[in-house]
């Protein structure tokens, strides 16, 4: 796309505005683009800083408070920065029945943080997650957008080691 649809001063990239432009005809109202816009904005920062929420509000044409109100409803929208690898361990029923609690304790010990915290080097954020829909391959977790299933401590340890040494 040659002509830029991005306002000059926006913190969001031209890619954001292009992606939104492509989605606009698929909805009868522009406000329906709020969730897609928040996903897209979050993919640029890893989280949703105030400036990004404001830019989304401006693009949609609503008050920033409306965007904050929506964003804060959904657990996937990070209103605080998260580590480079965001670990989300499912601790719902099916995973707990197959050892998820041990995985959480292992991570907390190994990373030296509690659930909800980020390591000082900014590499990992650890969260407990509700059911991920991977109960047949429990215990399961997500690392950013990826599922890791049939977990056990050695497998989790390997994953942490590898992520630790990635740049």
């Amino acid at each position: 796309m040659s002509t830029s649809v991005a306002p000059q001063e926006s913190v969001l990239s031209p890619k954001f505005y292009e992606a939104m432009k492509a989605l606009e005809p698929q909805y009868p109202r522009k406000t329906a683009l709020i969730l897609p816009a928040l996903h897209q904005a979050q993919s640029e920062f890893g989280w949703l800083p105030k400036e990004a929420l404001e830019a989304v509000a401006q693009y949609i044409g609503v008050h920033p408070a409306q965007i904050r109100e929506v964003a804060s409803f959904y657990t996937m929208f990070n209103l605080k920065p998260v580590g480079k690898t965001h670990l989300k361990i499912c601790t719902n029923v099916a995973c707990v029945l197959r050892g998820a609690d041990d995985l959480v304790s292992f991570c907390e010990k190994k990373l030296g943080i509690a659930c909800g915290e980020t390591t000082p080097d900014g590499k990992f954020t650890l969260s407990e997650e509700e059911c991920l829909g991977a109960c047949g391959t429990a215990p399961a977790m997500m690392a950013n957008d990826d599922y890791i299933e049939n977990l056990d401590i050695p497998k989790l340890n390997d994953f942490l080691e590898r992520s630790q040494h990635e740049r």
Binding site: L23, Q26, Y27, P28, R29, T31, A32, L33, I34, L35, P36, L38, H39, I60, E69, V70, F73, Y74, T75, M76, F77, T91, N92, V93, A94, V96, L97, R98, E130, C131, L132, G133, A134, C135, G136, T137, A138, M142, D145, D146, Y147
Partner: protein, 430 residues
Amino acid sequence: MSAEVQTLFIQHFGKDSNRTLSYYQSQQSGYVAAKTVVTTMTPDQVIEEVKKSNLRGRGGAGFPTGMKWSFIPKGGDKPKYLVCNADESEPGTFKDRDLIRYTPHGLIEGMIIGAYAIGCKHAYIYIRGEYTREARLLNEAIQEAKSAGFLGEKIFGTDFSLNITVHRGAGAYICGEETGLLNSLEGKRGEPRVKPPFPAISGAFGCPTAVNNVESLASIPHIIRLGGEAYSKLGAVEKSGGTRIISLSGQVKRPGLYEIQAGSKTLRQIIYDLGGGMKKEKKLKAVIPGGSSAPVLTADEIDVIYDIEPLMKIGTMMGSAAIMVVSESVDLPKLLWRITKFYAHESCGQCTPCREGCHWMESILHRICHGQGREDDLDTLTSLAGNIGGKTLCALGDAAAGPVASFIKKFRPEFEAKITPVVRGQKRYA
């Protein structure tokens, strides 16, 4: 295919290459049903066929799909919408994910037929945000279908056109509830709506809308292919047609997805014959038979036929057909605390009984599990559950209340054992 077990879906699961259009067309007669529908049937005939099939919604409520479609008003100048519920957030449920991964075209074809039946030109698939990869696979399949002329303008050379948009959620159980889902699709907080009006009259963007689960829609091409009556006869019990995909998890030897002809097996047969029995030969203690919202069953109650009516008769529900199996080694008060914590976290907060009640139940269960339980706690919990169920805008309240009431009723001694005499009636939880 053996004469006794007939499955429609599961034989195609597990292999990545099965998701392609060429596989779907060559191995599953893909898009033949849609072509038959669009080129030779009227919308009313389609709805009649689906009614005859006795397909009942696979999302949890078990509402007859054909009847739901018949509620969409005919004509009128408002657009009509078909929305596929791919939020799959009921704990224990993981069937829709594999349906999307291995037969995305089955879902798309079902949506073409559904859209034709209700007069919809633009359909949405609302998929839970965590299913990033699955959303991508769906978009790829939609592109494939579009290139082949099954989606877009003038489908099969007729005047019927349809586009499908994949819309990602962002982590909220309540968006599985159909009106919470519709609000979320519109770019709002996923708070359920006051009903009536029902979505059939005023759904997405204020227009008539049918919301159907992934498995319900993916069953539609089979209904057209086999005929409504033959599909219905796959079910072994009255009023329940076709097959059911069961999500089996917890402490069994072989957790995973299983497909059975509706009503053809008991819960015991599913756990022991399909699931291979208990992991490490432990004793069975409890079964959660229909997602975490379903009231719990004891080991003595599993000779029940696994289907909607028989489970309802014994005070629980089939829900999304997610079975979670619990062995003797599990601390049930702690497990109930875990379940209740989920509902407290996911309550949208609109209705006071659910917003306050879920947190209250959670904190009481928490103190019981931490040796701080009080003598009257179990009665308080039971009374709280009774004051949430049936008193909220959506069924999340019932979903939270059912487990609490049933666990305490059926396993009371385990809870009492945690409320030690020293603490009873004395210490208060800080």
